[in-house]
Amino acid sequence: MGPLLKRAASLAAALAALTLARQAAAADWELDLDGRLVSVNGPFPIIAGGLGSTRFGGDQSGARLGRARFAVTQNLGELWSLSLDASSWGDRDKIPVGLTEGYLLWRPYPWAGYRLRVKTGAFYAPVSLENRTAGWESPYTLSYSAIDSWIAQEVRTIGTEAQLDWLGTHTGHDFDVGLTGAVFGWNDGAGAALAGGGFTLTDRQSVLWGRVGNPAVPPVRAAEPFRELDGRPGVYGGFEARYLDRLVLRFLHYDNRADPGAVDVVSHTAAWDTTFNSAGMRFDGDHGWTGIFQWLSGSTYISPGGEDERWPFRAHYVLLSKRFGNHTLSARYDWFTVEGYRDEGEDDGWQRGHASTLAYIFQADARWRFTLEWVHVVSTSYNREELGQGDAIGSQTQTQLAVRYAFGTSPQ
């Protein structure tokens, strides 16, 4: 798709969403406005062309737009529904308002203990166990873990996913199990921003056919995760098990099956062959306790002109949260590593780090939410030193106060 066409498609989708919400009585819609007061040090974030590790950086302290989001779900008959989720993030993207997700869902009634769901469009792969609320947000923190920040930035399913669940809890058992599989395209750019900029902790979700970074600034420049360069569809397959409403286990194998030798002749961008395994566990206990562990390991690989470059990456985190009525206190610790190899020797691009996140959320009612969050990232980065954006070893601290108001029929 040409850039003009993409912009027109985004605008058309947003307009269609608004029209649907106004005209159709059965549509559930939501408009969220999220304003922030930010205090941050360190380099600019990747979205602004820097090598920072947080959503904001550089001189971006002060009042900021966290997110303006409009979402609508319209039932189409009894078994189909259309969901559109549009956001603006208040930073410079080539698309000022875009869709983070937009898909058609087919949900036949469960039969004989089985439930099938088929989604077609653009949506998140089932990786995160913290991004469980509307708009793929986390009820625990503002900033997502390193793993889920990367998913938000570069990984989206643009294709079809089927999920088949066996509903044991509806037939007298303690658990449900499910299998997921998907075929997708337009994700040949996934991995470019991770290889160049490393892991970050952000809640900035890339919009469809949006870009990451500033075209004039290396190493990420303007990564475009949602491109199809080689005509080869990607696939993923996963497994999920749930024990009552208390424990969720998830595993996913993702492979965008990009041809690492494919290069776009106009933009000279390469296809990034990205594969990963992700696993996670979430435990919800009595007295408002939640514990989450997620792990991700994979690599991204390009070979333009036969010169191999490979970036293996790994990350994991633990999160502990306690809810006291309308108040939620959460702490998370992230570890992450990106290595860089060119023709088998360790070379550029590596990053290693860890991060602490503390957050307090007060959900005053269904519409008002107040959040105070502190994120501290310590990392070593070859690119940061090489490109004069700071020392190889550095830290970055970001404190945010967020106030969010939700309009609509189905606020959280």
Binding site: N75, E78, Y109, A112, A134, S410
Partner: protein, 202 residues
């Protein structure tokens, strides 16, 4: 419920205790005479509402041929379904649109779900027993019944015991009859309370 208030003279009391000896409220108790004819209790009209993306109540016990309405007090749509053999049905409940009640003709357990909100779960226990009810805070259920011998069955969605451990017999004489059932296994954990239902979108 209907028949319990007829005066028969003798009181049947069934008490359900957990393995640690504590009484368990909320257990469904059904009582069938072992001899003579057994007529189901009179049908009732009951309500299974949807409120804050949950069924209210989470367990309904009704005699066969009863009717249940599903009003949907939420602002969002629901699609109630059951694939239980005792009653298979699908009921799309859109905002502000009333639906006629569903009639439950067969005894058995009907597990309810919502096709839009996967976390919603509730039960309708349809019984052909002439006497039934649920245990109170002291773990006991009582009813006035004619003298005779009764087969007692108990059930609850959180019980893990084998079926053969959930039944017994008791004789009710002029002085009444009492039966205490000891569960061998602890109950399944209760559904978590207080977690916002909007936390299950992904």
């Amino acid at each position: 419920m209907g028949l319990m208030f007829r005066t028969w003279g003798a009181v049947l009391t069934v008490t359900v205790l957990l393995p640690d000896g504590r009484p368990q409220p909320g257990i469904v108790v059904t009582a069938y005479p072992t001899t003579g004819p057994s007529r189901p209790a009179a049908p009732v009209e009951a309500v299974m509402d949807q409120l804050n993306r949950a069924f209210e109540p989470d367990l309904l016990v009704i005699p066969v041929s009863s009717e249940v309405t599903f009003p949907n007090s939420d602002t969002v749509s629901h699609q109630v379904y059951s694939f239980s053999p005792a009653k298979r049905f699908q009921l799309p409940l859109y905002r502000g649109k009333p639906y006629p009640p569903e009639r439950f003709e067969q005894p058995g357990l009907v597990t309810l779900g919502c096709n839009i909100h996967d976390e919603m779960l509730a039960y309708i226990f349809v019984t052909d027993a002439p006497f039934f009810g649920r245990t109170a805070a002291d773990g006991a259920w009582s009813a006035e019944v004619p003298n005779g011998r009764y087969r007692i069955l108990i059930w609850h969605p959180r019980i893990r015991d084998e079926d053969q451990d959930l039944r017994d017999e008791v004789t009710v004489a002029d002085a009444g009859g009492t039966l205490t059932l000891h569960l061998k296994k602890p109950l399944r954990p209760a559904p978590l309370e207080g977690r916002p239902h909007s936390w299950d979108r992904y």
